[in-house]
Symmetry: C2
Subunit: 346 residues, 2 copies
DNA sequence: TTGTAAGCGTTATCAC
DNA sequence: GTGATAACGCTTACAA
């Protein structure tokens, strides 16, 4: 029962209580504006004044332990490190997410993972109570989460590329978005395609999915992916440039090249121009993602815009809802995309 | 002394201890690989096995409370919200920071502030023990931090635009960087300048500082900032475009326009081209910041590259060092920049 | 309206 | 080598 009076240490609520001549309970009630507790205005003022005078700051960890909450949400990004920030999507998603979370008094902590095995780190994050909720992106299925014992009842939201069955998730229909832009090329009369996929397009479930769908789409439209015209890149402009150079050496030159992200499409255009081939007169180029900059290049790039900011906002909303209603149903949302036709495609 | 056996609740270290037939202390020692504690291999194995079987995950908040540490560092970005993510600098800094922090087992939490008064939130973050350290960027002086009672002894690192006196800080010499690019324009023979500053260039200490220095630099080189040729923008391409349009209506057309960030410089170029004025033949444009994309525009933009990723890494290193050596001296570091001359300037 | 006391789940200090 | 036991600082029934 001894009340510790730390010499140099932090001010605790006990000290505030003593200074105000009340109990710790009262201090807690006043400082947290506890509803339903009728504290006299006079007492309340005394507590507030004491807290101010002592420059009291409640200990966050003690509070977290006592309440079992942290008002923190983790955004876990799963991606081979060097590429994690190469695209604009992360900062856009963060932008929407952080703002919405802040409005609700929540904080965002960023967690980067590279290995699939690190999913256990994410589970621990939730289980240990380090965060109240987890928003994970970049995974190619929900199985890894189930294997580490997480379930739909846990405060987990997956941002995925197609609807997931069991966990709450927001899916961005990348395949559908891709179809739009490819379709635009087909509609423009193109039948001979080249393509710059993202390097792991043969291993990664989602990249493979996009690539296969692309091939199918071409096939059913009577178009073809020319031999020697599939050259992968690592999402950077430079890799797009190199890929395009190789494509231009193929026996037959494609009439259009699909850069599977905008950044590589930019490189592709530069490579063509560098080789004296004009875009779109000699060859068309289409991109993917809708980065703002695509509009300002020469030529402006045709692409599909993925509303990343919107995604971030929605993610925050769904997670916050989930935290407030732990018993709520699994929620699913699908996010659309917007075709942006510009001069790089004719 | 009662050992609680929660029905459905979390597994605690007590339960692990009971299952392994040891005390909680032993469990703690084993799980934390406590050095200097001689646990028999046999006991150790039993504990580990029990923990595994029960799927035990230590409670993060309890641990934080007991140790007084969280292994978390806050990155606080102070900026009017809409612009916080408009530039690439945030994701670049984050990129370097997160990676380095992760290597050391630290996590990054993102904190956005808009009002100067929110500095008290940041102080509370440190004081409350919610984070071990604070890296703050976007502030125009150290006074706000002192006013809320923080001092150089606290685990605070400020990323600033000029060396600070009292807090540890990493400064990026934006003024010096700017001089480099402006100097390049002067060296190219330009004497009649236009300029697109960031909107708060009359209020914000740092923006004003850059703007004034720019004017002085011109003056001492016998160059002039033409009347009607200073039009502010909000960092976006579109604002740069609008600003340039107004500049082109000025009585005398400048021979070079300085976009005080790359994004606005891009807009400026588009506006000129849209008005049938070619860059750089009719008018030169120079940018600032060194975004990767500047290299791929038409014409490629002359700019100065600020090594944001490097900054993030250095920030992590300094903060980690500070956390390991709380008594260490204030550390100061200044980060340079790299002139990138390209076709937009002749 | 205010106070007492029981947690919350660790880690850390000492005895044994 | 291992085990009690006391912090850590707060929240919150429940009692008064």
């Amino acid at each position: 029962m001894r009340v510790k009076s730390s010499g140099t240490g932090k001010v605790t609520s006990s000290e505030v209580a003593r200074a105000a001549g009340v109990s710790r309970t009262t201090v807690s009630f006043v400082l947290n504006d506890k509803p339903g507790s009728n504290i006299s205005a006079e007492t309340r003022a005394r507590v507030l004044e004491a807290a101010r005078q002592l420059d009291y700051v409640p200990d966050a960890n003690a509070r977290n332990l006592a309440t079992g909450k942290t008002r923190t949400i983790a955004l876990a990004v799963h991606k081979p490190s060097p590429h994690a920030f190469a695209d604009t999507y992360l900062s856009s998603v963060l932008s929407g997410l952080v703002r919405k979370a802040k409005e609700a008094g929540f904080r965002i902590v960023l967690e980067l993972t590279e290995e699939d095995s690190e999913v256990s780190t994410l589970a621990a994050l939730v289980r240990s109570g380090a965060v109240d909720g987890l928003i994970a992106t970049g995974w190619q299925g929900e199985e890894p989460f189930e294997e580490v014992g997480l379930s739909a009842n846990d405060p987990v939201l997956l941002l995925s590329e197609w609807p997931f069955e069991r966990f709450s998730n927001i899916s961005v229909d990348l395949v559908g978005a891709q179809r739009k832009i490819v379709n635009a090329a087909l509609a423009a009369g193109h039948r001979q395609f080249g393509c710059i996929p993202y390097v792991p397009f043969k291993e990664s479930v989602s990249e493979k999915r996009r690539f296969e769908d692309f091939k199918n789409q071409l096939a059913s439209a009577g178009a073809e992916l020319l031999p020697g015209c599939v050259e992968a890149g690592d999402l950077t402009v430079e890799s797009g440039r190199l890929a395009m150079r190789r494509i231009l050496e193929a026996p037959v030159r494609p009439s259009v090249v699909f850069g599977m992200n905008d950044t590589m499409a930019i490189g592709a255009i530069k490579a063509a121009q560098g080789a004296g081939i004009s875009v779109p007169e000699d060859i068309s180029v289409i991109g993917f993602e809708g980065q703002a900059i695509t509009e300002y290049l020469d030529p402006p790039i045709s692409t599909v815009k993925i509303p990343w900011i919107d995604l971030g906002e929605k993610a925050a909303e769904i997670m916050l809802h989930k935290l407030r209603n732990p018993e709520a149903e699994q929620s699913r949302l699908s996010i659309g995309s917007e075709l942006q036709l510009r001069r790089s495609l004719i």
